[in-house]
Amino acid sequence: MFSLLQIELFKISRRPRTYIAFAAITAIVLIFQFAFKADGESYMNLMLQNVQDSFDLDKSKAINGYFMCYIILNTLLVQVPILVSLIAGDAISGEANMGTLRLMLTKPYNRSQLLFVKFLAAFLFTIFLLVWIAILSLFVSLLIFGADDMLIFRVKGDESQILQISKDDVLWRYFAAFGYAAVALTVIATLGILLSVFAENSIGPIVATVCIVLFFTIVSNINVPIIDKHVKPWLFTTYMVGWKGFFYIGIDNEGQPIKGSLENWPAIRNSLVILIAHIATFLGIAFYSFQKKDILS
């Protein structure tokens, strides 16, 4: 099994497509950092709106490494599913397309073993991608912009809020958020693998995965009460932004943030459970179908 995984990772590592993902992320993050270094104040003004009428604030302090990482993740974690599906959607279908699937399947392994290894490889790819994102968007941002308290601009129901998290209370939230993002992206990876079981070229499942994610994300953001109430809870993309929950700091009766606390841990936990249930369901269907499938490619 381990050698199978090594082989899968070797194959992924030798494909130019793999590095497209890393290059895309590097480019996006660097552009963000450059833009905010050059003119982060405009963004701050947009987010602060009329708060500046009542308060003075050192905006250059507010645009720090922690804040940058949040802004970058906010955008990037919408795009990363595309990159994950690029690898996951290709897992089985790509082999079918190349004609290597039939070769693999005549080797002395169970199909479920092979599929599991494919899943593991896609999962590890996702993790590598996230680690790379973390290095660039968090650690490089900290190097460029320094560390300070973090401001979160948030819309909660009908309310808008600005949360301030102390500098020494941020890092663990990022580790938790990246952990959560890993689970969320694994849902995409398993969806990609599931779709790739049914296809004989890699374009189909990749495009299908991306379309599903885009479609769900757009529906999630329509912001009409009837959809918020009856549709949103059924879309897994709703839960993919749950990593932000780690930055919604708990507030005491006086309106002060409580260091080290979370506003709504049960909501994050439930979202995690829902995401993991998606992973299990997608994988289950994928395993069942792959086991039964006649390999005609």
Binding site: Q49, V51, S54, V78, P233, T238, G242, Y248, Q256, S271
Partner: protein, 232 residues
């Protein structure tokens, strides 16, 4: 014994009446004299902000003042939201900056302390200050409450508690209340995680809300020849 105590009570009563009958201008002049003993000070303390849309941790702050009207409020670390009218928490500059017409507005009662009320109207028509109402404890010569209306920053209110530094007329606690505008981000700008927990129909009344900043000061260094560096 009885006679003695009666005469003491009488004496106190007389004294009291005298104080409350005192001309308001004289009272203010006394306060000014008391304040003028302070050439500069540096104070350390905490600032707690209570605004409905701002969730900020308690900030460590430092206050700097230098005669006649230099004042600075600084936070020692982290990001801080400092209310625009916060310069006015320093009463020491008030008399140095403006010339007023003073109106005696009688007496009032604040936290069981009987106070004299003085309304100060700046003589300069172009002044940002429109009206400042002082609530003064005439016995201890302390300003307990101040209500100020400005052209630019609206109306705000100061409540001051005195303890250790009352002899200097410097408060241990300042409660600064002000009006803030409603903060509203466009939906969809932030792609937030909706945990379905936010159900608040009260937002309609929220158009303009009150903000509060409570500054607790626990250490003053007074007349230590503060450098001008701090006011940059």
């Amino acid at each position: 014994m009885i006679k003695n105590s009666t005469s003491l009570l009488l004496l106190l009563l007389l004294f009291n009446q005298q104080i409350f009958a005192q001309d308001i201008n004289v009272l203010l002049a006394n306060i000014k004299t008391k304040m003028s003993k302070i050439k500069d000070y540096e104070a350390e303390g905490q600032m707690k902000t209570k605004v409905v849309f701002l969730k900020l941790p308690v900030a460590a702050v430092k206050l700097y003042f230098k005669n006649p009207s230099k004042f600075k409020l600084k936070t020692s670390k982290g990001i801080s939201f400092i209310p625009k009218g916060a310069v006015n928490v320093n009463m020491n500059s008030l008399f140095n900056e403006h010339n007023f017409t003073v109106i005696d507005a009688g007496t009032d009662n604040i936290n069981n302390v009987k106070v004299r009320v003085a309304k100060l109207l700046p003589n300069d028509d172009n002044s940002n200050l429109v009206l400042s109402t002082l609530y003064i404890d005439p016995v201890n010569l302390l300003i307990i409450k101040n209500k100020t209306t400005t052209k630019e920053n609206g109306t705000y209110e100061l409540m001051m508690n005195y303890n250790k530094y009352s002899s200097y007329g410097l408060p241990d606690e300042i409660l600064f209340s002000f009006n803030t505008k409603d903060y509203k981000l466009p939906k969809g700008l932030t792609f937030d995680f909706d945990d379905q927990s936010a159900k608040n129909p009260l937002s309609k009344t929220n158009k303009a809300s009150k903000g509060e900043v409570k500054i607790t000061l626990n250490k003053y260094s007074i007349n230590k020849n503060l450098s001008d560096e701090f006011f940059k």
